[in-house]
Subunit: 338 residues, 2 copies
């Protein structure tokens, strides 16, 4: 097996921001696993929030060979060894997990979603409106609706939330997910949530700072909307400790390490009566395809990372309004744009 990688620079159409800051540029890493004439692809999308950088991911790539082993079909044991060996580099692990799934499915000539015993990979994705000035919000929402998206996620947790939400609700009556990105202290969250209730949130995501995960239980009782966590829930063990405290979790592959770990988190969440969202970071299509392959298992998909780009270096995800899909092409079905 031969492993190689390169950085790729991505630019967003608009500057993209959350309550924690923003930018219009991002670099990710494209991983290639070549063996027996077949090439498996994966994308590493590091997030500093989780101790991941381009450098730490490249260091992980250099150390990974012996952990992946010499049997590319044995994805489960390979991912388990990677977790054991580099537990804090889950973005890199997700890149390997993607490349291994892509490789096996291409080798057998089947799509990854079928390899996993699932239905065809189709879902409705929310389109995300970042934190911005009122005029820009207006432009972004109009563009999104013109593009056919019928469910929106809006980043809140700043001073002018109510103004932003009023602008959106003037023109959009559909499902509106509100993501505070850990903006609030336990003492102020209830008031802030009540303050956005009139704008009919489909759910409120990560209202509290990461470490206050226990305090979500009280926010559920407000009855305003289901409470989901994102930053407070990275991995399977987190889902266990959140039992009874939240309505749902946002699973992202750079937090958990890819398809194998995500399937475990979904199993735990379902058995605990929780709902599941699949999320992403700004990335190319290559990092969106793995969560999209299992999106039929989720209640909400927020898989728009590639749709925020000015130019996507990869292609293969079909979009029809707010619906995105992978086809019957073998593997993840993602290829470099010609």
């Amino acid at each position: 097996m031969e492993l190689s990688w390169r950085r790729q620079r991505l630019t967003t159409r608009h500057r993209f921001a959350t309550s924690q800051g923003g930018s219009d540029e991002r670099e990710t890493i494209v991983v290639r696993l070549e063996h027996e004439g077949v090439c498996g692809l994966g994308e590493i999308v590091p997030s500093q929030l989780y101790g991941q950088t381009l450098e730490s991911s490249e260091s992980a790539l250099r150390r990974a060979g012996p952990m992946i082993g010499d049997d590319p079909y044995a994805i489960g044991p390979a991912v388990d060894r990677l977790i054991e060996g580099m537990d804090d580099q889950r973005a890199a692990i997700a890149g390997f997990d993607s490349a291994l799934h892509d490789w096996v499915a291409k080798r057998w000539g089947v799509p990854v979603w079928r390899l996993l015993g699932l239905s065809p990979a189709r879902t409705r994705t929310t389109f995300t409106i970042g934190v911005a000035e009122p005029d820009e919000i207006r432009t972004k929402v109009r563009e999104a609706l013109a593009d056919g998206y019928d469910a929106l996620k809006v980043k809140i947790g700043v001073e002018h939330d109510r103004e932003t939400l009023a602008i959106i609700r003037e023109v959009f009556d559909g499902p509106l997910l509100m993501d505070a990105n850990a903006a609030w202290e336990p003492g102020q969250a209830a008031e802030r949530i009540r303050g956005v209730a009139e704008f009919r949130p489909a759910l409120i995501e990560q209202p509290l700072r990461r470490e206050y995960w226990r305090d979500n239980a009280a926010l559920r009782e407000l009855g305003v909307a289901p409470i989901f966590v994102d930053e407070s829930c990275e991995r399977p063990a987190d889902v266990v400790r959140l039992r009874g405290l939240v309505d749902g979790i946002n699973i992202k592959f750079n937090k958990c390490g890819g398809i194998r770990e995500a399937l475990r988190m979904i199993a735990i969440a379902r058995a605990q009566g929780m709902r599941v969202m699949l999320g992403c970071f700004v990335s190319s299509s290559l990092a969106i395809a793995p969560p999209l392959a299992i999106a039929t298992l989720a209640d909400f998909a927020d898989l728009d990372g590639h749709l925020l780009l000015r130019e996507d270096p990869f292609e293969g995800i079909a979009r029809d309004g707010g619906a995105i899909a992978l086809g019957e092409a073998p593997g993840l079905g993602i290829r470099e744009r010609a």
Copy 2:
């Protein structure tokens, strides 16, 4: 897709008994799923303990067609629909789950364990010594050791436990799992467990009656051996409620419904820090192959159901002393004995 089935009668070499009774005859159901010239096989092993009979399983088979659907590759959604439609007939669901996995893997020309992204299916199985008179215990243990088994499970929970255990420990120094099959009341279990401590149990399985699952926590604190549950743990939701109360669980496919549900239970158990055993009932090789395909994920395998038979109508599981394995043959690798 064409579904057909027939009953098969099995006879054990010795009368096989637990603290709950025994017999030397058993009937199971062989399921065949034929499609595009490929035949997927499964075995239904009903247990009255879980509300399953040959008749209820055959009734489930007659109703299952529309729930399985018309895409045999989409095993996940098919199993989910079966669970929704016949939640109490998990033995029948396990038969379908087996036939679907066998079909897909044969269609692609790969073993089921590889389809699941796992390492080659090899494990050490315990050999089970049922409840019997001292002379018969002596004979059974001698036979087992002569056959090369190097880990034993013994059924306890009757009056002469200590006599049985002393006979075994005279000739066997290796790992000895003790299974009480729900024999004891909470008020007596601690004393009984202390009474077998000198015979060095590798673990104590299901000491308490099913409904007293909460009381296992106190038995762990005796420090005699890890406490596992079997009858108190059927499905994913049971694993969740047992968090912190037991050291491990015994997963059996006729309790949970097959590979898909077992993988979920293992994910939950691991995230909760629990250990995992894969167990079985007396059956032919056909019902042993599905748990064996995933046995590399377990800490203990008690997959000897077919080894207790006078004649096994199926073949395909290799045995070398206490080690059993599935080979590289496509699907489950199980075929009718010529």
